[in-house]
């Protein structure tokens, strides 16, 4: 292994452990190269120093981070409250929508063959005139509670 490759692996080691074979090759090179061994020692010492520095910075920034999180949490709660208590308009908005749906159902109820039952209110019917060119017609009246019937007798069939 040459020094150039060794330096690249030293930098790679700082980011995470090297594969076993690559680590063994690097260790072999470091044993015979004082310059690379010195570089490796310097890079290896940098990691803990950076971590310590980051910890110190985080401690310094903790109050500011806490304040920001409090604001974020308050905003979330505010949003939840607004959703829980909609205005009275929004609460009753479904009524006109339901009425509109009912009107639609009435309008577009199949009108071709209506299966709704008959419920006549009256059987009071006046037959002003009645005639037939090809049949005998009888008018049947069985009382006010029953409908009047016009009966067509076709060629004495019925």
């Amino acid at each position: 292994m040459d020094c150039r490759t060794a330096r690249a692996r030293i930098e790679g080691k700082a980011d995470g452990p090297l594969p076993r074979e690559a680590a063994a090759e690097l260790a072999g090179h470091l044993a015979g190269c004082p310059a690379c061994a010195s570089e490796d020692a310097a890079v290896s010492a940098t990691g803990p120093v950076l971590r310590a520095l980051t910890g110190i910075r985080a401690m310094e920034k903790a109050p500011a981070l806490d304040a920001m999180w409090t604001r974020v949490r308050a905003g979330i709660e505010e949003g939840r409250e607004a959703r829980r208590r909609p205005s009275w308009i929004a609460r009753w908005a479904w009524i006109p929508a339901a009425v509109a749906l009912a009107v639609l159902a009435l309008l577009y109820y199949p009108a071709g063959t209506d299966r709704s039952p008959f419920h006549p209110r009256t059987f009071d019917v006046a037959v002003e005139d009645v005639e037939s060119e090809v049949a005998t017609v009888a008018l049947v009246d069985k009382g006010e509670d029953l409908p009047r019937v016009i009966w067509i007798i076709e060629d004495a069939k019925t």
Binding site: P86, W92, A111, F118, P147
Partner: protein, 154 residues
């Protein structure tokens, strides 16, 4: 942080009201000079003993008036007609019925009815009934029984 848009909430009911208004405007208003003619074609026979539930309260009356054991509604049609406007109703057995509302007063309806079997005019009549009233026209043969027409006007 995005906040809920209050205009969206106010828009929903407004849109619903608008839809309702549009629908109400689309509903044809029943003017006083318009008659809704309803014609039900009932097949009465002695084949079986069933009575169609769609006949409603008229079932018992049909049973008490005629000597048939089975009543089945084959078809029912409703048409809104203005005074003087003739409405054609197709009946079972290639028969037709033509109904024409005539001028009338108050709650009464006058209907000119003509029932034809091809070129043959089976019946020509003029009826005076109250709105919501009903009359039966029966007798034309159909299959193994007869046809009874339930004619009502609203």
């Amino acid at each position: 942080m995005p906040k809920p848009d209050p205009r969206g909430r106010a828009g929903a009911p407004a849109l619903s009201f608008l839809l309702l208004l549009l629908l109400l405007a689309a509903v044809p208003s029943e003017a006083a000079d318009t008659v809704s003619v309803d014609v039900g074609s009932v097949y009465a026979s002695n084949e079986g003993t069933s009575i169609d539930p769609a006949l409603g309260t008229i079932r018992e009356k049909l049973h008490s008036m005629f000597n048939y054991t089975s009543y089945r509604m084959l078809d029912r049609k409703r048409r809104s007609l203005s005074v003087g406007e003739a409405g054609e109703f197709e009946l079972p057995g290639r028969r037709t019925m033509r109904a024409t509302p005539l001028p009338s007063r108050g709650d009464n309806v006058r209907l000119s009815i003509q029932i034809s079997d091809g070129p043959r005019k089976l019946l020509t009549t003029t009826l005076g009934l109250r709105r919501g009233g009903m009359v039966l026209v029966g007798g034309p043969s159909h299959q193994a029984g007869v046809l009874i027409l339930i004619i009502s006007a609203e």
